[in-house]
């Protein structure tokens, strides 16, 4: 079983994000970066499939040179090797990322490509769909359970939908995106990450892949959310109803 899994470098979701004075990027000094948590779930799922059925897990990441850290974390978790597609400053354009990933996926070949349902920095959730379109393979989003039917080369993907669960059968090769409850990723210890330095990370550039770098998407501006206002205590139900009706205008 050949498994590709995407691990995007994103700011630690628990960190305080600040917008730079230029208004369209964020302050990255002192900021810690992690594997996109949904991608981390995808890595875990790929590893579990490999542990069950054997095969190889190759982790892909598109990003700056520092994204090697995230690739290495995935390698420490148990992935076999990594491919780092070096791309600075274009990570906000899912179209470019999808095309870059598609090129590497074609080179590598795969049975299943896994990734998170969205990245927690931009929250677009576009790359997976675009990638499936470019590669012309079926695509199951928001997986909360994945069963591999190895012999028939099919995946049974369970998805959480309104009011229940839906199971889809898709043929390989295919793309699956991980939802929050698919699994709980293992913790790769720091000594483990150090040891993972021995594993191979192949570096390629967008040019080498023949992917154009002109973004079709441009960030106009970023702004911090308004500061949360303190609440207000009301004296009675009548006052509450009045406030909701007259001031908040929600009833």
């Amino acid at each position: 079983m050949k498994l590709l899994v995407v691990a995007k470098r994103v700011p630690d979701p628990e960190a305080k994000i600040r917008v730079k004075p230029d208004g369209n990027s964020i302050v990255t000094e002192q900021l810690k970066f992690v594997i996109n948590p949904f991608d981390e779930i995808a890595v875990e799922e790929a590893l579990r499939i490999k542990e069950k059925l054997g095969g190889e897990v190759v982790v892909l990441s598109v990003g700056p040179a520092e994204a090697a850290e995230q690739v290495r974390t995935a390698l420490a978790m148990g992935a076999d090797r990594g491919v780092l597609i070096k791309a600075d400053g274009v990570c906000a354009d899912p179209g470019i990322i999808a095309r870059a990933l598609a090129e590497v996926a074609k080179q590598e070949g795969f049975d299943v490509l896994l990734m998170g349902k969205q990245a927690v920095d931009t929250d677009y959730g576009q790359t997976c769909g675009m990638l499936a379109q470019i590669l012309g393979v079926p695509y199951a989003a928001f997986a909360c359970k994945v069963e591999v039917e190895g012999e028939s080369k099919r995946l049974a993907v369970v998805r959480e939908v309104d009011g229940g669960l839906e199971t889809k059968l898709i043929g390989m090769p295919c793309i699956v995106t991980a939802d929050l409850r698919l699994n709980e990723p293992r913790y790769a210890s720091l000594p483990g990450i150090m040891k993972a330095k021995k594993k191979e990370i192949r570096q390629v550039s967008l040019e080498e892949l023949g992917v154009g770098v002109t973004p079709k998407l441009r960030v106009e501006s970023l702004e911090e959310p308004p500061k949360r206002q303190g609440g207000r205590k009301v004296g009675s139900v009548e006052e509450l109803v009045r406030a909701l009706h007259d001031e908040a205008k929600v009833i």
Partner: protein
């Protein structure tokens, strides 16, 4: 009547040459079998790493042997068992020495076994023979009559008991029959044998019995005693009696450095191929020996909070299972961590160190558990909630995962001197720790501390956002990498500010700053707030005007008490302000019962058995105390949680020492 100078015991009384040859041949054989048996056992220890003996701190090691082996100090913490063992121990030791003396007289050119020496010898050995039998009777009553719970006996335990009993009885019966039957050079009932008071007294009952019969019985008793002794020595290494040697060795050889303050062994992460213990060859030789030192006495299990609350962990079982693996030459087919010792067992340990404190033979059960946990973490078998906290600490430098720049949120409205802004330096670094920095409940501890420090006129500063979690809990959960990373960063900060005195209210931070940090090259005077404030009070710098009206009960934090020996300072502080006598729980000081929050367990959801904090809060509430005084933020939040969950708010509240004192300013 014989001249007193010539009286003696005829050891080989009425022995033919052939009989003597048989006995000596059997003795030689015995020594051979013993040496081989010992070699077989000791060879297993040699598969470990490092030297068996570190050749350091020899006076301290001898002192430990003196106290714990000769003085039986730890065993005597419990009167019945301790006293019984003391009797058997000294009875056996003196009788053994007596046998050696006899051998020297008999089989070397030295001759001294007569006259006054013999009389004193015989009297002493009779007395210690009685001690041996008396101790065995006490053990017998306990083992076969009282049958305390939690102990199971194997053939080995019975063997040792009955063997010693038979040796004692046949020793006395031989003496009795010798006195009643008379010797070759001495008549029956010689006056001088009154020194052998047990045998002489018993012999009186045999007056009038046919001397020939007595002679025959004497020889039979002699041979039974002799053969039992030889047999006992021959198989010693294969039975529980091996602890005569292994426990003695272990008390002498056990390291002080890692054991005393529960400090895990240092790992050089650059060179280490794997982390933690996977196979027996990862253990030190002394650790493998320590497995053989275990007598299954169960003291560790009795004090273990995990065992007491139905978790799968028993420190005794951990030692015995590892010993089992060693005997099978194991670790190859089954991993030690997660195989021989299952994950849940290892994650149940709160690192309270009660087992280590209780062990009479210096086994470091907790140290072994920590090494096995390291292996689990390295093999990525970390429980997910713990993994979350480790990731948060990696990214945010605190296990709450809150932005570290908000580390001064607790100080809102107070003017707290920040190290970075203090001109001309400061005397004391007040290490606030993550809990009092980020936990809304525990922020009160830091706020109280600041008021007390100001009232005492202390020149101090805090690090604020420059402070990073010590990750001591991560280290004890098995993540050495995160611990070392944060430690090196903190040491950098300390050096920048020339920090030499650190004050903290957190015993976990205290222990790691004081005892772990020297492993990475940083030494400072580190003081817990209980000690610090007690000294301030004594020096008259801290003046407490008020009294604390509500009844207090004190809980010893593991990391303050057992780890660092501070039992008195918190009590002195409480006595200074308490209006009514401070209450004590049954399990206190060295035997204090953990809150359940140590060793990373604050960050894990282990849903097996009763919650440890619930068990302890019930014990505290049962004393009738209204305020549970704690000296550790982990204890505070574990108990705060237990009080809420158990709906005990009306009965008891938990407060840190500083919160109590600040009310008395």
């Amino acid at each position: 009547m014989e001249p007193i100078e010539s009286v003696t015991r005829e050891v080989f009384l009425r022995f033919s040459l052939a009989e003597r040859i048989v006995f000596y041949a059997l003795s030689m054989l015995t020594i051979g079998v013993f040496v081989y048996g010992f070699y077989v056992q000791a060879r297993r220890w040699m598969q470990g790493r490092d030297a068996l003996f570190a050749w350091n701190r020899i006076p301290e090691r001898l002192l430990r042997v003196f106290r714990q082996v000769l003085g039986q100090a730890k065993l005597l913490r419990e009167s019945y068992r301790g006293f019984a063992h003391l009797l058997v121990f000294w009875g056996f030791v003196v009788l053994f020495i007596g046998t050696v003396i006899l051998t020297i007289d008999e089989d070397t050119p030295l001759r001294f076994f007569y006259g006054d020496f013999y009389l004193a010898y015989s009297w002493t050995l009779d007395l210690f023979g009685l001690f041996l039998l008396g101790g065995l009777v006490l053990f017998g009553v306990r083992r076969y009559g009282l049958r305390p719970g939690g102990l199971s006996y194997k053939w080995d335990d019975h063997f040792l008991f009955w063997m010693l009993l038979l040796l004692g009885i046949t020793g006395f019966s031989t003496e009795t029959l010798r006195i009643a039957g008379g010797g070759v050079a001495f008549p029956a009932y010689p006056e001088f044998e009154r020194a052998s008071f047990v045998g002489f007294g018993a012999a009186k009952m045999l007056r009038g019995v046919d001397p020939v019969l007595l002679h025959g019985l004497h020889k039979a008793s002699w041979w039974v005693h002799g053969l039992l002794s030889l047999g006992f020595i021959a198989v010693l290494s294969y039975t529980k009696a091996f602890h005569f040697l292994s426990s003695l060795f272990n008390v002498f050889l056990a390291p002080f450095e890692t054991k005393q303050h529960g400090v895990p062994s240092y790992i050089d992460l650059e060179t280490a191929e794997s982390i933690g213990y996977n196979t027996l060859s990862d253990f030190t030789k002394q650790e493998l020996l320590s497995l053989d030192a275990c007598t299954r006495c169960g003291r560790c299990q009795e004090v273990c909070p995990a065992y007491a609350t139905q978790k799968p962990l028993s420190p005794k079982a951990v030692v015995l299972d590892l010993k089992g693996a060693m005997l099978e030459g194991g670790g190859e087919d089954k991993p030690l961590a997660g195989g021989v010792i299952m994950d849940d067992v290892l994650w149940s340990c709160t690192t309270c160190r009660a087992c280590v404190e209780a062990c009479p033979v210096e086994i470091n059960q907790m140290g072994l558990i920590l090494e096995l946990r390291r292996s689990l973490v390295f093999e990525m078998r970390t429980p997910s909630t713990l993994g979350q906290s480790l990731k948060r600490t990696t990214n945010s430098a605190n296990p709450w995962g809150l932005p570290n720049e908000d580390r001064l949120a607790w100080a809102k409205g107070l003017s707290v001197p920040l190290a970075a802004e203090t001109e001309g330096g400061f005397e004391w670094l007040y290490w606030v720790g993550c809990s009092a920095s980020f936990d809304p409940r525990n922020q009160k501890i830091a706020r109280s501390m600041v008021r007390l420090l100001e009232a005492s006129g202390v020149n101090y500063a805090v690090l604020g956002p420059e402070e990073k979690c010590t990750a001591e809990w991560a280290r004890r959960a098995g993540e050495e990498g995160l611990f070392q990373m944060n430690t090196l960063e903190n040491i950098e900060t300390f050096k920048r500010y020339n920090v030499s005195k650190i004050l903290t209210h957190c015993p976990h931070c205290l222990n790691t700053l004081k005892n772990d940090y020297p492993q990475l090259g940083f030494k400072a005077q580190v003081v817990h707030h209980s000690t610090f404030l007690r000294d301030m009070l004594k020096q008259g710098r801290l003046k407490l005007g008020g009294k604390f009206p509500e009844s207090l009960v004190f809980h010893d934090s593991c990391y303050l008490g057992r780890y660092n020996g501070e039992y008195d300072a918190p009590r002195e502080l409480l006595h200074a302000v308490a209006e009514s006598p401070v209450r004590e729980m049954e399990r206190r000081r060295e035997k204090s019962f953990c809150c359940g929050g140590g060793g990373g367990l604050s960050w894990m959801e282990l849903d097996i058995g009763k919650k440890i904090n619930h068990e302890r809060i019930e014990e505290a509430a049962a004393t009738g105390g209204k305020i549970l005084a704690a000296a550790c933020p982990f204890c505070v939040f574990m108990f705060d949680d237990a009080i809420k969950v158990r709906n005990l708010e009306e009965e008891i509240k938990v407060k840190d020492l500083s919160e109590i004192l600040v009310e008395c300013l």
